[in-house]
């Protein structure tokens, strides 16, 4: 359907989007969209996240990897306002957003998905999508009675939703309840729904877990084309082939701390990473076990 896009991303891949970045923990980026400092969170005695400094380069795919329990999901929750930090601050597109609540962070353009998929099961797939559209007059209580006004927005949003559903191969399911989708399809729906908000940065927590292998390729294609549209992608993943294949940059988290950063080639040869993560377990076997669905 879109051989142009494929070519586009192939050409794009030749550019070094991380020009100038030094492969070391906390390294400075040319044009960071997200900058975090001293972000900390502990549960009882357990320090789940303790990130000294982290920058995410705009317009790249950055992978966040680390063994189970490393604090990846917790870091996502903290940065997106779904959990409260014990300390630290961070800014998105130059504006400090620490202390903002989840919906405010999303409105600022940083949208996340969840490791445990959150499809709104007793709503149709299309309704799930439409919920993502920002700035709807009809979502205000008084505005709900102005059908002519929101009806027009609804039409535009529906078109946009159908386009995305087409892209994510969910178009035939648009009238089905989201609860009737398979685990993998729910992951796709969640990602498509997040895109309805027009984010500048999308954070995906294990988007490939439970997705049918046949769909993984097209999902990867979606992720690269998001980057090629200028969006920033930060994603958590366990499949090493996937990570090495599409990431511009990799951040390695272990016991809440960033222990390494770099291009895929840097990470592959980083002894500390191999010790802490890759060497510690059978990577192939890990793929099977890491899915939540």
């Amino acid at each position: 359907m879109s051989s142009d896009e494929v070519n586009g991303s192939a050409v794009g891949a030749a550019v070094d989007r991380m020009a100038g970045a030094v492969p070391e923990p906390g390294s400075a980026k040319r044009d960071p969209i997200l900058v975090a400092d001293g972000v900390k969170r502990s549960f009882g005695g357990l320090t789940a996240v303790d990130v000294e400094h982290l920058e995410v380069q705009r317009g790249t795919i950055t992978a966040l990897i680390g063994p189970n329990g490393a604090g990846k999901s917790t870091l996502f929750n903290l940065l997106t306002g779904f959990d409260r930090v014990d300390g630290g601050e961070w800014s998105f597109e130059g504006r400090g957003i620490n202390g903002r609540r989840g919906h405010q962070v999303a409105r600022a353009g940083m949208v996340r998905t969840f490791q445990l998929t959150k499809a709104l099961t007793r709503m149709t797939v299309l309704d799930n999508m439409l919920l993502g559209a920002p700035g709807q007059t009809g979502e205000r209580m008084a505005g709900a009675f102005l059908r002519p006004v929101w009806g027009r927005q609804e039409k535009v949003n529906t078109e946009k939703a159908l386009e995305l559903l087409e892209r994510f191969k969910l178009i035939d399911k648009r009238r089905d309840m989201a609860g009737a989708l398979s685990g993998g399809q729910r992951k796709l729906l969640e990602m498509a729904r997040a895109l309805m908000t027009d984010p500048s940065m999308i954070m995906l927590d294990e988007p490939m877990a439970g997705v049918n292998p046949a769909l993984v390729q097209s999902l990867l294609h979606h992720i690269t084309s998001l980057r090629d549209e200028g969006k920033t992608v930060l994603f958590v993943e366990h499949d090493m082939d996937v990570i090495m294949g599409i990431s511009d940059w990799i951040v390695v988290l272990a016991q809440g701390q960033v222990i390494a950063e770099g291009r895929p080639s840097d990470i592959r040869s980083n002894q500390q990473v191999i010790d802490a993560y890759l060497g510690a377990q059978d990577v192939e076997g890990e793929d099977q076990g890491s899915g939540d669905e």
């Binding site: 919906h103 959150k118 799930n128 920002p134 709900a144």
Partner: protein, 333 residues
């Protein structure tokens, strides 16, 4: 015992003002639970503040009835904010615990000695429907002395006026619910019912929506309370026991939660069955078939029957009479 007479009388009660008042309160509860997923176990508290808004305004301060309605509705907004502000950011169960306690505390406060100058304590307030009857005369709608309808379905003019207003309000609130739920606002609220974190992650202020739903459902509950005061002409605090809330839940689940017409169907069927079982039991009793039961036992048996009905409903039709199985709210695994 004439079974046809009993059926006719039960049918009368299904379309009567009490069924309408309970339908109204259940429409409010449907907004809470059916759409926003808020577990409110104190809907009777909203009815109480509505009824006493009318009662105190009219009987104590001799204000116009319309002012009484507005006072009752304003009290419902205050109550919803008091309940919602501390609990709606927390897990769902906090709201349910708070509402059940708050409704009971309200009843105890309104009947307490120190509140007597306003509420007249346990004796309650009387003479609340004079102005309501005058409205009918002023509008010239129904002749209070006349009869309307036919056979067992004939009602006095003042009864017709009362039924017109209460069922009119039911229709209005059902229409309001329909309009809201079939709008993007309703989509957000239903999304919150499914998973509030997902909705939050899409940039919606979940707390504000839950608050709006709580206030709106509470207002409709208070409106039911206002109509209760008007219908009875007198109110007393002990009419607002927790049992009323549980009747409302039975009505909602019976009709179908998350359906616009669910509370209406539920209330009509519920009051039909309540009257039917009561009259059949009493009929059997008076003819000596139930020698082991005496007067007060009938009420208890009747409630047990309602309980059994609810159990059967959950087992065989968990989505309610007109519910949609795909959108079913009770998770039956």
């Amino acid at each position: 015992m004439d079974i046809f007479l009993i059926l006719a009388e039960s049918a009368r009660s299904a379309v009567g003002p009490v069924a309408a008042i309970y339908a109204l309160a259940a429409i409010g509860l449907n907004m809470h639970f059916g759409y926003a997923g808020l577990l409110n176990f104190g809907q009777v508290g909203f009815m109480l503040v509505g009824a006493y808004g009318v009662g105190i305004s009219v009987a104590v301060f001799e204000l116009p009835l319309l002012v009484g309605f507005l006072v009752g509705l304003a009290c419902a907004v205050v109550l919803a904010l008091l309940l919602g502000v501390p609990t709606l950011r927390l897990r769902a169960d906090y709201l349910s615990i708070t509402t059940i306690a708050a409704a009971e505390v309200l009843r105890l406060v309104y009947r307490a000695g120190f509140a007597e100058p306003l509420t007249n304590g346990v004796y309650g307030l009387q003479n609340l429907s004079t102005e309501f009857r005058e409205w009918n005369l002023a509008l010239g709608l129904f002749d209070p002395a006349g009869r309307y309808g036919f056979g067992s379905f004939s009602f006095s003019g003042s009864h017709m006026w009362l039924m017109t207003v209460t069922w009119g309000l039911v229709a209005l609130m059902a229409a309001l619910t329909w309009a809201l739920i079939h709008s993007p606002w309703g989509r957000v609220v239903k999304g919150i019912r499914e998973d509030e974190d997902a909705v939050r992650s899409l940039g919606k202020n979940v707390f504000a929506y839950k608050m709006q739903a709580l206030v709106l459902g509470g207002l409709i509950g208070a409106l039911a309370g206002c109509m209760m005061a008007v219908h009875q002409g007198a109110i007393a605090p002990d009419q607002f026991k927790p049992q009323v809330t549980f009747f409302l839940w039975v009505i909602l689940l019976l009709g179908g939660a998350g359906r616009v017409l669910g509370p209406i169907v539920g209330s009509m069927v519920f009051w039909f069955l309540m009257n039917f079982t009561d009259k059949v039991l009493r009929g059997l009793g008076s003819e000596g078939y139930l020698p082991f039961l005496s007067g007060p036992d009938f009420g208890a048996i009747q409630l047990a029957f309602v309980g059994a009905l609810l159990v059967l409903l959950i087992v065989f039709r968990p989505q309610g009479l007109i519910g949609d199985r795909k959108e079913m709210l009770i998770n039956v695994k």
